[in-house]
């Protein structure tokens, strides 16, 4: 049996219940740590489940920031320095990655507070997460403010990718299941995934 919720039903739910429901109801997400550095040189790390693919050529990714009703260090650092990193979360450090969602003050680096290691390259100033098997360096490109609630879509151009040897298959696919990467449901539930099937390119006559 199926239960039908109207908008009024949803708006009438207790606040935390609705938050949990609305964050999990759109299914599995990637878990990424976004690394930035402030104009004072303090590194910052924050976990996001909202990274989306924008384009392959040239390579662009985006992510959704919550409204700027409180200070958002990730956003301010990206605007101040122009660069950020996206580091996929693996099973070996997902609990440390989750801990970055705690509200640390501006002077504290989540790298130190959560026990993760910054890694730098010469391409840009933003810190990567050494422990991550897939790390992307991005240059800020544009942003879009969502009128409905003040969320922001931040878009960056991928200018560098650091990938563990052997994780990319012959056709360019990242081997997500053998990489130890996790998926996330909502804001707190971490999942291990195993491949069901890789499907061929779909054509009308194949069905």
């Amino acid at each position: 049996m199926e239960k039908i919720f109207s908008l009024d039903d949803m708006l009438g739910m207790e606040r935390d219940y609705r938050r949990n429901l609305m964050n999990t109801i759109s299914g599995f997400k990637s878990a990424s740590l976004i690394g930035t550095v402030s104009h004072r040189g303090i590194s910052n790390l924050a976990i996001f489940n909202s990274v989306v693919h924008i384009s392959a050529t040239p390579p662009y990714l985006g992510f959704v920031m919550r409204p700027l009703t409180v200070p958002r260090q990730t956003y301010h650092n990206i605007r101040a320095r122009g660069f950020f990193t996206i580091n996929l979360v693996a099973e070996s450090f997902f609990e440390k990655a989750h801990q970055t969602s705690a509200k640390y003050d501006e002077q504290t680096s989540e790298f130190d507070a959560c026990g993760l290691s910054p890694q730098y390259t010469s391409a840009h100033p933003a810190p990567y997460v050494l422990e991550s098997p897939i790390k992307l360096g991005l240059q800020y490109e544009e942003e879009h403010h969502i009128t409905a609630n003040g969320s922001i879509l931040v878009v960056g151009r991928v200018i560098e990718a650091l990938v563990e040897e052997g994780m990319i298959g012959a056709e360019g696919h990242v081997d997500l299941d053998n990489s130890g990467l996790v998926a996330v449901g909502g804001l707190d539930s971490y999942y291990r995934a195993s491949l069901l099937k890789r499907m061929p390119y779909a054509r009308p006559e194949k069905e």
Copy 2:
């Protein structure tokens, strides 16, 4: 050992290789069928891996559409009728869901072509996918055109949710792992997920 790719390395890759890499490199995604209906009444179904959470109060979700360089029936139907549905893909029908990515002509409903069943409610005209255990009805709210490549973020307000009984836990979390829902990597690889851990709300003193 870790391999470093510069932007030039990425732009120098063979086109399909780069597409596969850039679509999988941001990790696991949700797999959703977006259901719409044209101004002529022809139902349409298309698979997306780009649904993002925007807001819980009021409930908004978004998804990224590829550029309008070719006709995009999902987009045109949403603009013509004002409503769409998001239907999470489960293991029991993921191969049919994948088949909706084939290029059918405008007269053909993917429901018929791919063997899925439309389901309607009185709340709006867009078709749900009967086979899906989690179905959301959305009213078009706004869109943002990404300057970098012409992709579009479409945002909708969730006005209805149809959820299989027993799938929502006491605190509002959808039980993603016991629901048979799949995650997707890139455009073609489907995954089953199992819960590693639900983490508590993170606070600075807990580490």
